[in-house]
Amino acid sequence: MRKLTTVLSALLIVAVVATVHGAEKKKITIGLVVKSQSNPVFQACYVGAKDAAKELGPKYGVEVVIDWQTPPDEDAQKQAEAIEQLARGGAQAIAVSCSDANTCTPAINKAIELGSVVMCCDSDAPRSKRMCYYGTDDYSCGQRVMEELAKVMDGKGTIAILAGNQTAPNLQKRVQGVKDELAKHPGMKLLPDGVFHNAETPEQAAEAINTAQSTHPEIEGWAIIGGWPLFTKNALKWAPGTVKAVSVDALPAQLGYIRSGHVATLYGQDCYGWGYKSVEILLNKLVKGENPPQERVIDPLTRVTRENVDEFAKNWDKWLKK
């Protein structure tokens, strides 16, 4: 009898375990295809996505798996292939930051046709059938940079713009934002031919800004609409505070310029949020069937100054899992 009880108990345990196992949470695979693995902003994006999977999965009653299919270096064709592979491999949703919207658009549309939900983060493919976009509004980003520069320069002086790639549409919008905001400050003016374009590498950007400053010593302030030169050490060859500067991006390497006083304010993009928020938006759609409130969800830029730089730096410890 005791043996029978033991056997029955064992069977019961096995049955319970099997039931629990059988009632496993629904698994949702979300593909993440951003521009490149080598850029720290996308490492932060990946950490954000993984954190969201861990934190939001239980809340939504699902198991979320992040399938990171980002090319090592920027390659739009590899991105397009990865999007298609994910969709054909059963990924229910995909978040994409497009290296080239033209190349990614057909792949995004195909993935949607195959049944995946696709959204863009950071870099949009507006002509695709993607559900929504989460990222920076470039025009207002330019406006905010200029607004802040006007504040630190007390509304007077000559400024210049470090503008990156002349043909990048997002940077053109930022430049326009700076110019339109500048027009609201009568005491300030743009140096004639004061929009300096540069190759978007730290070294070339640093060379461009220093050459411009040394040939035009009348420049009193810089609107740096992409933080390229600030990835290098000692990129700004002037004494802190003598020339004012406000820049976009607030990566760890760039925070040193706030501490040294070379740059008054940095506007950090929500790179961790490109991952976290994207997973949240996609889970809302997949689990609850809810669409985001707008087609373009705009990332609130974070203002980083000397007052909050140390506090902000702690975010990077979390975002880059230091």
Binding site: T70, D75, Q77, E84, G89, G90, N102, T103, R127
Partner: protein, 384 residues
Amino acid sequence: MSQPTATETNAQGSPAVPAKRFRGLRMPRMQEAGLLVVILLLGLLLTFAAEPINVRGHTVNNFFRIDNIIPNVATPMSWMAIMAIGGTIVIVGGGIDISVGSIFGMAALGTAAVLQNFSPDASPWIVLPVAIIVPLVIGLICGLINGALVVGLRMHPFIVTLGTLSIFRGIALISVPSKSLPYGDKSLPDAFISQFMSWQFTIQRANAPPLLLQPVPMIVMLLCVIAGWIFLNHTVWGRETYALGGNEEASRFSGLPVSLIKLRVYALCGLAAGIAGMVSTGYFGSANTATGEGYELVVIAAAVVGGASLTGGRGSALGAVLGALIIKMIENGIYILKEIKLGVVTLHLSKEYSKIIIGIAIIVAVAVDRLSEYFRTKRLGKTK
């Protein structure tokens, strides 16, 4: 699809006439059979190693399923394989062309730049000839420039094509200020994109999600293999290429037009890169200034893995395609497997591993080639 080897032509004393009974003739056939065995083994390995996945409610093998093999392996390998055929022709002729990625990019951008001026619903009778001629002409011109520089300056082809790799990429960067085409709200005509190169058909399946296939890039690739095979195996020009690659001096003394043959092989390689650029532009519906960057490594790897000897005189069009297939299967395998458990150690795979594996594949293929060359020389010594 066997082809003559330079060794056999030299042994005859006349590079243009193959020796049918020569033992070396069996080698290429064995090489291609060997490649097929490798592909089969790799396929089996990936099938057994891949975990089953759930695709919209259906559990399937992650590798061995038509949704993976055709759209994720065979279709994207098409433009690589086409370039590899061109690359193989140059290698067979004893040269090397590392500018193929840049030619590919220029052809793709040229096609997009011209086609974006057409209306999206323009007639295929106007669009298709332009879409085909423009990239082919760009590829051919670039190839002729490479050939002319190699012949005219008598410089090592590696140096010449290293230079043109940079020059062609630079021209692309300067010529396309927007960096990506089509520009703004423009789009490429449907007659070339959705109705031709990325034309798609859907197969509805009872117990699986619908199968979406885009066969045209693969068809173009097959046509190129056939053309490459005919050229190398059934034309005098092809035999001359083997002869040149096997022994340039002997070819010259035999009265072969060495300069013309060199010019021809580089022109054909450029032409192949142009065709590949056309396929890519049609498939993706766009091109950008980074299109084709770094492809030269994959193209040379495909040619070498496919049996082309870097010392010249050996290689085949079919081998190039099989080499491209092996490389694409490795890339797909890395995507499929994601991690490999080696006892207590788990190796997490990511796309970076493909670069390491491609590098290893090149070294192994060249080592095998050297070894087989060594044994062949030894065997020849014995027969004498």
